[in-house]
Amino acid sequence: MNQTHNIAELKNVLEAALLTSQGPLSLDDMTRLFSERMERATLRMLLDELKQDWANRTMELVQIATGYRFQARVEYATFLTRLNPEKQSKYSRVVMETLAIIAYRQPVTRGDIEEIRGVAVNPNVMRQLQERDWIDVVGQRDVPGRPSLYATTKHFLDDLNLRSLAELPAMEDFVQQEIPLDT
């Protein structure tokens, strides 16, 4: 079975690939599945159908930054996390605040982060985020010392179930009431 002959069979190949893949599959990845030529429009149509087929089932086909993946519907998470109780340890507030600054203000230097947080940034914090592959260096600012500019990665978007940064909650949502100057 090297040639695929009908829609159902093409969809099955995609389903098998998406259910077994270690990471998200891009459209390019998926075209490689087939020996014959596959149009991206056809792929998108098949993926749409596949998504429909799974609409009321345990897994959902989602599109994220780097491609498509099947993931368990959120209502099963409570069951499934019982299998691996040793959860990934939560990041400290410093790490999460640094991540938020990079996510919302990117690209930023360590100096920018220190300016916003009012405290020096421990290099260890940056390292943690880089090791998780959530941030990386995208360039240097053209000022003395040429400090590194940090930005979030596509992997960060994937891990947070987002297709793009625009899907992050809007910054305006977090702005609180004005601090009064005269009381």
Binding site: V74, A77, R93, M96
Partner: protein, 265 residues
Amino acid sequence: MTEALITKDPINAKIKGEVFTTLPQDLYIPPDALEVYLEAFEGPLDLLLYLIRKHNLNILDIPMADLTRQYMQYVEKMQSIKLELAGDYLLMSAMLIEIKSRMLLPKPAEIKSEDDPRAELVRRLMEYEAIKLAAQRLDEMPKVGEDILVASAYYQHISEMKPPEVSLEDLTEAWRNVLKRASHFKNHKVSRAELSVREHMSIILRRLKTDKMVEFSDLFDVVQDGIPKLVVCFLAILELAREGLLRITQQVAFSPIYVQINGTD
């Protein structure tokens, strides 16, 4: 909700057996507890924000002179490892004192809001506050490996080993190495012409392997091949004969010449 989020970390400092759960209003922090306070807050902005939002503290009401004097004492007592962190608080105290002193100066008749020395601090505080909330939201969002579980069913990996790629550079590099090591080849040069001859030697041998005995003239395609190729072909036959690989026979003068692989009958 805002308040609940901002005061997520309760202050729980124990000083000489006495438990402190709220910040003293005079902001005096006993040196023993300094570390605990510093850990409860992410920095001077965080501390200030807490005081403003939780205790409705007016930025200008902070007794800055006292505060600064206390900080100076901490810095002296603290080990060098914590100096950097204390420095951030010290810097903030200096900033507050500067603001306060500017506010105490006689005001011009009309003060525009952007000239208010506190405006920049308020901007920074509000930006930090928003980032802090954004960080909490990011922390709460479902993440792969925590509450998002990605499909990873098994499949049988069929080994479809692709053979290694070889480039022209790989090949010539290998040949160069051979020449480098083989001393008797040291002065050997391979020219393009020679390569063509050697290629034709292989072609002729292949032909004779299937056709066994070929008439000499049939080895030349005078219609298709140009003179240079015919010459190369002839040189290849001569080289094969010299190496004893071909047997060239002619029964009588002017009869056809036959070529066959040496050793076949």
